[in-house]
Amino acid sequence: MDILEVKDLMVFYENAIAINNVSIKCETGKVTGIFGSNSAGKSTLMYAISGIMMDMKRKEEMKGGERITVVGEMRLNGEDIMDIKPNDRARKGVVLCPERRRIFPESSVLENLKIGGYLASRSQAQETLKYVFTLFPALKDMKGKEGGFLSGGEQQMLAIGRALMAQPKLLLLDEPLLGLSPAMETRLAQAIKKINEQIGITILVAEQYARPILPVIDYGYVLENGGKVLEGTAQELIDNPDVKEAYFGV
């Protein structure tokens, strides 16, 4: 059973193609990876799936800026979500933890998490808050600290925790390891695995550098210049000689 099915998706910025005929699937309860270098289209794909692209499109139209076109099919548990607004997609369980984290800088750690719990019921929020603090004990010790003053790794933990508070069914992680130390990379990769195993959330994770993420994914896709060039299980990707050199730094 696939929670998410993207079919023949194309995204254009003006006449430049950003996503070229990409079809991907996320199997329910699994971790799926998307790999690719800068400008391969990872973030664009994430924005398209989460619906943020609709908001960007609207804003661009308002100020007469870039024309954004999205065509294709996107289904969440079989339901067409192409025309659903981003906040309603979040309500349906598609929650994006964006590139560069976008922590609320003036709110404390606890408040960031509370704002994240907007869609959660009181008991869900309490339960998830407890879970986030067991997953990332470091956050508990800095509950009162302002989000803007956290380090990169701390911010990433907070961003994932905040996304969990929104009760996702499909969690989209866009470059969660960007700019982190190797130790923090491993810790976060482990946390991603834990979230998937312990509370059964389906995860789609996009990364530039595949190595730390590869051990935790079940299936992966490789994007290049907006198009899908390869897909397979983690093992198949590792074994592919072209991929090895280009993306896994082996």
Binding site: F104, P105, Y118, A166
Partner: protein, 287 residues
């Protein structure tokens, strides 16, 4: 002492006038240039309900607040939503609505004979300084309103979601917070706050159409000095301007008051273009 108490009253007045504008702008980045018109409209609405229709005073005030909240929400839903993101159009559209309201009011309400009754009659002496009780109500009202807004935005789900939108709209969208809904609510609350300010402040003077323009200017001055969108900045700036105005009136002369206000704006803009607590580029992005 006299300066302190009158400065406090004037600061509270300015804070009440500005807080609605600041709230709406802080949450939705929409400058509501109809703010002053809403303020005066609420004053006349209360006057009509209480004096012409003979309704109970408290009821009249409540109806005015609800009415203005509805007008604020409607202004977003039917007008501002179409031009959102284009600052100049937002200003022109809301200012046009404000002018339309004020000039329409001018047809009906001529002269200075309109005033709503004070809440409590009489004056008291605080440390030897006589102050009428309505001004005490203004000070208390300012404190209560600011306290309530603070509690609302820190402890309720809706209030927290508004703060999320205010800080990073797109991140809030990802968490399921609807930005159109947030903007509607922000403008409704902002307009209701303008109305609340009007019903508390207007009893000490009379309701005139021209004051609508003055209130808008005062609110803008306070918000620019405090830093657009910063709530702490707004409150601080209100009291700075309040005390500066009172000090000038007492020691230099009343005619210099407005000069001091404008000079304060220019000074702040020269030294810190984003205002005292402006948050443009306040935090460096961490990668």
């Amino acid at each position: 002492m006299e300066v302190f108490i009158y400065g406090l009253a004037r600061g509270s007045t300015l804070a009440l006038m500005a807080v609605g504008f600041s709230f709406a702008y802080g949450v939705s980045r929409l400058p509501n240039f109809a703010h002053g018109a809403f303020y005066i409209l609420a004053g006349f609405a209360t006057w009509v309900f209480a004096q012409s229709l003979g309704l109970n005073y408290v009821l009249s005030i409540a109806i005015s607040l609800v009415l203005l909240a509805a007008i604020g929400a409607a202004m977003y839903r039917f007008i501002l939503i179409r031009v959102r993101g284009m600052e100049v159009s937002e200003i022109i559209a809301s200012y046009a609505l404000g002018v339309a309201i004020l000039e329409a009011l001018r047809c009906k309400f001529v002269g200075t004979g309109f005033s709503t009754p004070v809440f409590i009659e009489g004056t008291i002496k605080v440390a030897g300084v006589p102050i009428d009780l309505q001004r005490v109500v203004i000070i208390a009202g300012g404190v209560v309103v600011i306290g309530l807004i603070w509690a609302f935005t820190h402890y309720t789900r809706l209030g927290l979601s508004l703060r999320g939108i205010a800080q990073d709209e797109r991140a809030a969208l990802m968490l399921g917070i609807d930005s159109d809904r947030a903007a509607t609510i922000a403008l409704a609350i902002g307009s209701a706050l303008a109305a609340l300010a009007a019903v508390i402040i207007l009893p000490v003077g009379s309701i005139t159409v021209n004051e609508g323009y003055d209130v808008l200017i005062s609110a803008l001055a306070v918000c620019i000095i405090g830093g657009l969108g910063s709530w702490t900045g707004t409150i601080l700036a209100a009291f700075i301007l309040g005390f500066a105005g009172t000090l000038t009136a007492t020691y230099i002369g009343t005619m210099w008051e407005s000069v001091v206000v404008v000079a304060a704006i220019i000074l702040v803009l020269l030294l810190k273009p984003s205002g005292l607590f402006g948050r443009q580029k306040e935090f460096e992005e961490r990668v």
